[in-house]
């Protein structure tokens, strides 16, 4: 018998809001977080936009000394973690910290700091501070959260970039299944940096204006940043301490396309397999799925492959399922995309509101599903999927369900 795992806390930092209420209001209203880049000098680039986090004031959260040592990625992660921890009422309840762990997904991590170091080092301008190199490991944010909160349970970091933090939720789920933890902090954090921005630009995968998932005019992603942290908790443990239960993580799938280093498998066969693996693991039939939070990067190939994959699983019903592409608002947050989108999926289940895909104007005959264009819709949702796909075909699908007592 598998243990039931529920979500008891949520925290988000994003381009459209630095806490859950603001984030949720923004995506329900269809607010676009895209703006001019300020975290690094974008003047040499043709494209100068990203879904950058704004109104984020480190000094509201950290001491001067901490700010010197924490990367932007660490700061987002810690702030989102604190919100999730509080919202799960874990600041009040006494828990066994030997049985609480952290699994985050990482993308570029704190490379922004490492870039600062090596820019100075290679250009010989001045002696850079070695503390910038604390971010060299992708595990740094994970460790900082665990150390700060004194969590002595299992700890690791997944590193599949664009699907990392969805994978981390799967791994955290397993830590609870293994009996190693009562609760796990999971999700991810990531910050903008020049390496990933220029890398995606060099692959011609970035849209110069806005992120337009599934729209015929789409040219690619808008890079985003932020953090999405969830508290996953074993149901009995959550009930015993009377924790707020937002929804249940019913299962997940992780598969490989085994196709190409950057292009998705074009027929949607990889997407089909990961959704089927997830549904199978969750014990949910395709008929029960009410909404899908799409990977929806707005790259020409991804959106076609994802659409085809969804049709392969759901057949005729595919057109009836409202799909959200929230990357149109929060950008593609790489290592935190899955965490932020999982938070949105949980909020969808909880509030009965499906956030829209914005900038949707010109339908693409190859993307012919219901993408919830431009306006959110009210809908009672019992089961929701969240898709995350990564370079190299590292695909993840999460299945969340409304928490129903006794199901």
């Amino acid at each position: 018998m598998r243990k039931r795992v529920v979500v008891t806390g949520l925290g988000v930092v994003s381009a459209v809001g630095n806490d859950i209420p603001e984030f949720w209001n923004s995506i329900v209203e269809g607010k676009d977080g895209t703006k001019e880049i300020t975290v690094f000098d974008s003047s040499p680039y043709r494209i100068k936009i990203a879904a950058e986090v704004s109104h984020f004031h480190p000094e509201d959260h950290f001491s001067k000394k901490e700010i010197r040592r924490l990367s932007r990625c660490d700061q987002f992660g810690l702030v989102a973690f604190r919100e999730a921890w509080r919202s799960a009422r874990l600041d009040q309840d006494v828990i066994d910290k030997e049985r609480a762990g952290v699994v985050l997904g990482a993308g570029s991590g704190g490379i922004l700091s490492v870039e600062k170091y090596f820019r100075d080092f290679y250009q010989g301008k001045k002696k850079p501070s070695p503390s910038l190199l604390l971010s060299y490991s992708l595990a740094t944010t994970t460790d900082l959260i665990a150390i700060g909160a004194g969590l002595k349970g299992p700890r690791t970091t997944t590193a599949t970039v664009c699907s990392s933090s969805s994978a981390s939720l799967g791994v955290a789920y397993e830590m609870i299944q293994m009996g190693l933890a009562d609760l796990m902090v999971s999700g991810g954090s990531d910050s903008l940096c020049e390496v990933s921005f220029s890398g995606f630009s060099s692959l011609k995968l970035v849209d110069p204006e806005s992120c337009k998932p599934f729209d015929k005019r789409r040219q690619g992603l808008v890079i985003g940043e932020g953090a999405g942290i969830l508290i996953l908790e074993e149901l009995e443990h959550a009930l015993k301490r009377n924790a707020p239960i937002h929804s249940e993580l019913l299962g997940y799938g992780i598969c490989a396309d085994a196709y190409h280093l950057t292009s998705p498998e074009p027929n949607g066969e990889g997407v089909e397999r990961v959704i089927r693996a997830a549904l199978d693991h969750a014990g949910i039939s395709p008929e029960e799925v009410d909404t899908i939070n799409a990977h929806g990067t707005a790259t020409p190939f991804n959106d076609i492959a994802e659409t085809r994959g969804i049709k392969r699983v759901f057949g005729e019903r595919a057109k009836e399922i409202p799909i959200s592409g929230i990357k149109s608002m929060v950008g593609h947050c790489l290592g935190s995309a899955g965490g932020i989108e999982a938070a949105a999926t949980v909020l969808t289940l909880e509030n009965g509101v499906i956030p829209p895909t914005i900038h949707y104007e010109v339908p693409d005959p190859l993307c012919d599903l219901n993408y919830t264009p431009n306006r959110s819709i009210r809908r009672d949702v019992k089961v929701a999927l969240s898709n995350s796909f990564a370079f190299g075909g590292n695909n993840v699908c999460l299945v969340f369900g409304k928490y129903l007592n006794g199901k």
Binding site: V102, P154, A159, V171, Q177, S198, I254
Partner: protein, 406 residues
């Protein structure tokens, strides 16, 4: 269903002391160290000069030419280890369901060299210097993607990157998924390469021997004069398989994976578990029969904190039996690197299979606080009922895997 047993049926090793399990094992038993002056890049400006580097390898012997072109060096290293492991296992992929096969890889900084090349070219030439071909291999999961593409493996595919426990985690996750019945076979392990930027970072963070500039440079776990780590590189891949599946195809079984334990310590971002409690917890969770543990492949990386904590942890778990356990520190031969757990796990499988325990080398005078049997200098013949592999990362992830004779 929970009684599914998981076994090791194939080993692939690319190490500084040997390519392939035969060469590796022979050198390992003889206590031959791979640590030498670094030649692949210029270290003249550093206080440290040593590393355990791979020999020149002809990757064409391991990888399809069309795929080889797309891989960076670490990709080639790990895919070669996968090839060796698959060959060793006798698996015929034509007979396998590719959806029931998976890949679980751990790497600390897999593509650090590629990221560095990309960044330097960006600094030099601005946006036009950003090279798409470098970028696509710079992501940490490129390694696992290379493996899946090379062999058309379509099941579970995941990459872990958590400092020195990256590969131990990859193995633990693979074990659990096999136990849950989510795959029949998983290629698990990982690796890292010794690159110039990585060497620079470790040096600037003050991790490399001779730490503080005092004493002789070298890897000497448990020695009074130890003074930090020497970096290494390489890859170790294990074919993990359900016993049922292995039996059906008549596979040779090296050992059984029988348990895993994970724990976290919170002593600081660059600190290991200082009191050994967390390492002890990981070992206790991993093994349900501590009285059968005859061998421990220690995380021992020649840092005072970790050597002492691990020793303390072994005493906490095994009490009066602690001195009867044959401990080895393989990092004394292959160096320390985040993805070392795969090679060390192969070592444990070979130890159990052959009844031989490789030595810890380089150590002359034991630290009085490290008073267990570390199998110094000389290998030992010993029947092993069961063994533990410890992985400990700075920052505080501690993982222990329990292997049993099949």
């Amino acid at each position: 269903m929970m009684n599914r047993r998981i076994v090791i049926t194939g080993l692939g090793i690319i190490s500084s002391i040997g390519v392939g399990k035969e060469e590796f094992w022979e050198n390992c038993l003889q206590g031959i160290s791979g640590i030498k002056p670094i030649r692949r890049f210029d270290v003249s400006s550093y206080r440290s000069q040593l590393g355990a580097q791979l020999p020149e390898i002809d990757f064409k012997a391991f990888i399809k030419p069309a795929n080889l072109r797309r891989m960076d060096r670490i990709g080639k290293i790990v895919v070669s280890a996968v090839k060796l492991a698959l060959d060793d296992s006798g698996l015929d992929l034509k007979n396998e369901d590719s959806n029931r096969m998976g890949i679980s890889i751990g790497t600390g900084l897999g593509s650090s060299d590629t990221v560095d090349q990309f960044f330097r070219s960006l600094l030099k030439d601005g946006p036009t210097g950003a090279a798409p071909l470098l970028f696509q291999t710079a992501v940490p999961n490129a390694i696992a993607s290379h493996c899946s593409i090379e062999y058309g493996i379509k099941g579970v595919n995941l990459t872990f990157s958590h400092k020195e426990t990256s590969t131990e985690m990859a193995l633990a996750f693979a074990y659990h998924l096999l136990k849950e019945g989510r795959a029949d076979v998983i290629l698990a392990g990982g690796g890292d390469e010794l690159s110039e930027p990585l060497y620079h970072v470790y040096s600037m963070l003050g991790a490399l021997s001779p730490r503080g500039g005092k004493g002789l440079e070298g890897m000497r776990p448990f020695d009074q004069e130890r003074n930090g780590i020497v970096l290494g590189e390489g890859s170790g891949i294990l074919v993990l398989e359900t016993l049922e599946h292995a039996k059906k195809r008549g596979a040779r079984i090296y050992a059984e994976v029988a348990g895993i334990g994970l724990s976290g310590s919170t002593d600081g971002l660059l600190r290991y578990d200082l009191k050994g409690d967390s390492i002890a917890k990981a070992m206790s969770l991993a093994t349900s029969e501590p009285q059968t543990v005859d061998h421990i492949s220690a995380a021992a990386n020649s840092t005072i904190d970790l050597d002492r904590a691990e020793t303390l942890a072994i005493k906490k778990v095994f009490r009066e039996r602690a001195r009867e356990i044959s401990i080895s520190g393989l990092k004394s031969m292959i160096g320390e690197f985040d993805g070392s757990g795969g090679i060390r796990a192969c070592g444990v499988a070979l130890s159990i299979y052959h009844g031989m325990i490789p030595p810890t080398v380089g150590t002359e005078n034991l630290d009085p606080e490290c008073d267990l049997d570390y199998t110094l200098h000389q290998m030992k013949k010993r029947e092993i009922r069961s063994a533990l592999l410890n992985g400990c990362s700075n920052g505080g992830s501690n993982i222990s895997l329990w292997f049993r004779r099949y």
